[in-house]
Every structure is written in C-alpha cells, then in structure tokens.
C-alpha cells in the first residue's frame, strides 16, 4: 500500500510531464536508425536486430539512470522531507522510485521495439523470449534505478549528478558488446568487456532476440548479476535514508 502510494505520486508526475519520456528516448532511436543505416552493409546480417540489445540497455541508462534527478526536485520542494518524517518504511520509498523508473523505462523500450519492428527486427525466441527479456530488463532497471537513487542521496546537486552519469554511461556502453560482437573486440579490451556486467545482459538479450533457443546459463548469469548489484545499491540507499533521517 505505501509503495503503491509513492509509486502513484511519482507516476502522476511522469504522465503530466510526458516530455521527460520522449526526450530521453530520442538518442537510442537516433542510434538505432543511424547505425543500422550506416553499418548494415559492412557488418552484414540484420544489424538493427544485433544492435537492439545494446540500445535497450542504453534506454535503461537514460531513463532509469537519470531517474535519481527527481529526488533533487523533491528535496527542493519539501516533499522529500515530508515523506521521510512519515511512518513509511525506507524500503518502500526506494521501491516506489524503482517502480516509477521501471514504468518510465518500459514505455521507452516499447517505443524502441515498435520502431525496430518496422526495421524487420523480430524476437526469434518467441513468446517465452519476450517474457524472459522483460524479466532481464526489469532486473537491469532495478540495478540502474537503485544506483541512480543512491547517487542522488550521495551527490550534492543535480549538476554533479549529471556529470557523474555522463562520465560513466557512455564508457560503460562502449566497453561492452553493445555495438561489436565479442570476437571482433581487440584482445586487450576483452578483459574489461567481460568485467562489465552489462556485457552479460546485452549478450543474453541478444541471444533472445537473434536465436531460436534460450541460453539459460547466459540468462541466469545476467539476471543474477543485476539482482545482486541491484540489491547492494537498494540496501545502500535504504541505509543512507536511515542515516539521513
């Protein structure tokens, strides 16, 4: 009930400000259209289908990753204080934020999937694959939104927050298999690419998009990684809320 209340408040704001949804989905759409057009010939095969997995993660970076910014507005207008001195569980406060970020991200993912459908992208693993993709994406949102919320509690203002996100998001995106298959990555970089948890998420999503079979080992690894990292940051943000209040 209390999580729903916080989620309801956040989502009301989101739907009254739809521009926040459409602005953050533009860069991934741009990437999808531009890279598919430019690189389809040189990369061969269905490049939009190949690149989609990475772009789905990029959408989560831009939507769930930036979700912590709303916390600064809440602090400025006093609602953060009002919520914190109420008898609401700290975990519900963070979960309300994660669910809002998830809805935000899923809307953007829906837009990206519709556009990619018109670019001949199909989910080869079928109905099961779609469900597994949804689970995988939700776990990723859980981690990224929890990380974003923790940072918003830790960093002093929005400018520092944006600087921090911009500094890390693109390097993390590039040091992964988002744009290039693992085997094409120079040997010296492969260690770092493997170390990047999002590489495994992208690989799993790509398996579900491109292949007719489900690589359960890959799927399990990616889900576990996101759940473990998400739980760590979820608990960190709760601890920070307890510490602040």
């Amino acid at each position: 009930m209390e999580t729903y209340n916080l989620f309801w408040r956040n989502i009301k704001w989101r739907f009254q400000n739809p521009i926040t949804i459409f602005l953050t989905v533009i860069p991934p759409i741009f990437w999808l259209v531009l890279y598919s057009t430019v690189l389809t010939k040189s990369m061969g095969g269905n490049y939009p289908a190949f690149i989609l997995a990475g772009l789905l993660v990029l959408v989560i970076f831009s939507s769930s990753g930036s979700s912590g910014v709303s916390n600064y507005a809440s602090k400025a207008d006093g609602s953060f204080y009002r919520i914190l001195i109420s008898p609401v569980r700290r975990s519900s406060i963070v979960m309300g934020h994660v669910l809002d970020a998830a809805v935000f991200s899923f809307i953007e993912i829906g837009i990206l999937l519709i556009i990619s459908f018109f670019m001949s992208v199909r989910i080869t693993s079928g109905f099961l694959g779609v469900w597994l993709m949804a689970i995988q994406l939700f776990c990723t949102m859980f981690f990224v939104a929890s990380l974003s919320y923790t940072l918003s509690l830790q960093l002093p203002n929005e400018n520092v927050f944006h600087t921090m996100m911009n500094t890390f998001v693109l390097p993390v995106f590039f040091v992964s298999t988002a744009l290039i298959p693992f085997e094409n990555i120079p040997a010296g970089f492969r260690f770092f690419v493997t170390l990047n948890p999002f590489t495994h998420v992208i690989n799993s999503l790509r398996n579900l998009i491109l292949d007719a079979f489900v690589d359960w080992q890959l799927f399990g690894l990616a889900v576990c990684l996101m759940l473990i990292l998400g739980t760590v940051f979820f608990l960190l943000s709760i601890k920070k809320l307890h510490h602040d209040s």
Binding site: N5, Y81, R82
Partner: protein, 312 residues
C-alpha cells in the same frame, strides 16, 4: 504529561558546526510552545531533530515517553511537520495531496475521505478544490500545508516559521487555524517564529535559544519579569523639542538608557517612582507639551533583546 523532553541535546554537523549545544527543553501536552531565536540559533536543526530527520550527536529526546533514536518509527506516527517552505505537490490536486498524506500515515480510505472533508471545511479550503494547486496564493498553500499535516491527527504538530512571507490577513488566518487546532483537536503545537508578536499572542510557553543553547523557557507573562526593567514612556505632542529633550534626559542621573520613535520616548530608569517624578519635573520646567506619561511593562521584544544581549 510531557509531550517532548529534550535533555542535553547536541548536534554537530559533519563540517564541525555545532548547531545545538547541550540544549534542554520540556514541552507539555496540549500547549503551544514557541521557539524564538536569531537566524542560525539552531531552531530548524532542533525541529529537524525532533521530527527524526536528523540524528542527534548526543543527548536524549523523548516524545510521549518514547526515545526518539530507539523508536523513530513509533514517533513518526505521532507527529507531523509544516516545514518552512510549503511542501505541496503541484502536480496533484488539493484532495490528492491530502490523500497522499493520509496514505503515508496508513489511514484507510473511508477514514481519510471523512477527515479530508472535515479539514477542507474547517480550514476554509472548499472554494479551492477545483483550482490547480500551483495557482494558489502563498496563504492558501500554507493553509493546505497545515491541513495536510492534520489529516493524520498528529499528537504533536511542528511548524517551522509558518507565517514567514505571508501578508497580514493570511498570517491572521494561520493564527486562527492554530487556535482551532488546539481547541478542536487538542494537538500539542511546537512552533518556531521570528515574529515576537506572534509568539506573544499564541504561546503558552516561549523558549529563547541562542547558539544552540536555551537561554530561558517560561510563559510570556513570566518572561517579562526577566528584564526587571523600569520603563517610563512619554508621548510628546510634537517632535519639535524631542531631540533636545532626549539629550536632556540622557544626561539625567536617574535615566540609564533612552529610546525614541515618532512622538514617543521610552526611558529606562533606575527607580520607577523617582524617575517618574524627575521626568515630569523636566517636562514642567521646560514647558514641553506632552500627551501622556506613565510606567509601562516591558514588551516581549524588550525581553528578547535583553536576553539575547546578555547571552552574548
């Protein structure tokens, strides 16, 4: 019964600033308690600590006998706070804002709906339910802020400078609401303010703090005795000879200090009767036209300034 008991409370921020310094106060159930102090005296830090937002560095705080640090969740159920800046969500309607607050306090829908209707009626907000919240004036927003805080029927309502920035009419409306809250709900009210008149009119108890430490805590009436000032007020008919007469009185051995404003002089004298006779004689001898002369009680402002000055 003691609503709030604060003993030797100290709060030191990470940057080393000591905002509260061995502060001890007691607030009785059902009273309106006002905290007075200059900017940076520690008023907001104290409210933030009492509302569980900040953790104290040392000392103890009990709310209705429950330790704030050991049972913060239990304390949160019994309190509400109207912060210095209104904390209304502009994207929600008036009713939605109140519903959101009621759900934060886990009220069931039927109870919440009933209380919201009562509060809208009681606080004169009925005419505004159809308007967008961001179009409200500062006074109406403040009224809604207080109404939201009352939806959980808190046992203690904290208000951090609730009338700052409001016009005279809106301020009076907030005063009426606070009186109503005490009368109809029996809520203990803990308030900070810069307005001495407000503290004087509304409070049962006033506490003056400076540099995070309490200087004095008492009723407004008793506080006036702290100054032990003997004041004589002279209302002159004109300001023609005022400067000259002020200088004359300042040189008189029985006058310790003198203040002037408009047509009025207020002399602090060592002995009331002697001072009255001496000043009266000066007025007669120099044929100064005046409307009245008399011994006056010190105002809360006199008390405040005297104590703050003594504290320094």
């Amino acid at each position: 019964m003691e609503a709030i008991s604060v003993q030797h409370l100290t709060k030191i921020y990470r940057n080393g600033k000591k905002a509260l310094d061995d502060l001890s106060i007691t607030v009785q159930e059902g009273e309106l308690f006002t905290l007075l102090g200059q900017n940076g005296a520690g008023k907001s830090t104290l409210i933030n600590t009492l509302t569980t937002f900040l953790a104290p560095t040392s000392g103890s705080v009990k709310v209705f006998g429950e330790d704030l640090q050991q049972k913060p969740a239990s304390v949160r159920k019994q309190i509400a706070c109207v912060a210095q800046h209104t904390s209304i969500d502009n994207h929600l309607s008036l009713t939605e804002n109140m519903l959101f607050q009621s759900r934060l306090h886990k009220l069931d829908h039927a109870t919440a709906t009933k209380r919201i209707a009562e509060l809208i009626e009681s606080f004169g907000l009925g005419a505004y339910t159809q308007h967008r919240v961001f179009t409200y004036s500062g006074g109406i927003k403040r009224r809604l802020d207080i109404a939201m805080s009352m939806v959980s029927h808190p046992r203690i309502l904290f208000l951090d400078e609730p009338t700052v920035g409001l016009d005279v009419e809106s301020r009076k409306a907030v005063w009426d609401i606070l009186e109503k809250i005490r009368r109809e709900y029996g809520t203990t009210i803990f308030m900070t303010t810069h307005y001495l008149e407000e503290a004087d009119v509304l409070s049962d108890t006033i506490c003056i703090i400076q540099d995070g430490h309490e200087l004095v805590q008492d009723t407004p009436k008793n506080l006036r005795q702290y100054t032990r000032q003997n004041l004589i007020q002279i209302n002159l008919k004109s300001t023609a000879n005022m400067a000259w007469f002020e200088e004359l009185l300042a040189g008189s051995p029985c006058v310790a200090a003198i203040q002037s404003s408009d047509h009025t002089l207020v002399a602090t004298v060592n002995d009331r009767e002697q001072g009255l006779v001496t000043i009266n004689r000066h007025l007669m001898e120099h044929a100064i036209p005046y409307q009245s002369i008399g011994i006056i009680e010190p105002s809360l402002e006199n008390v405040y300034l005297t104590l703050i000055h003594a504290g320094k």
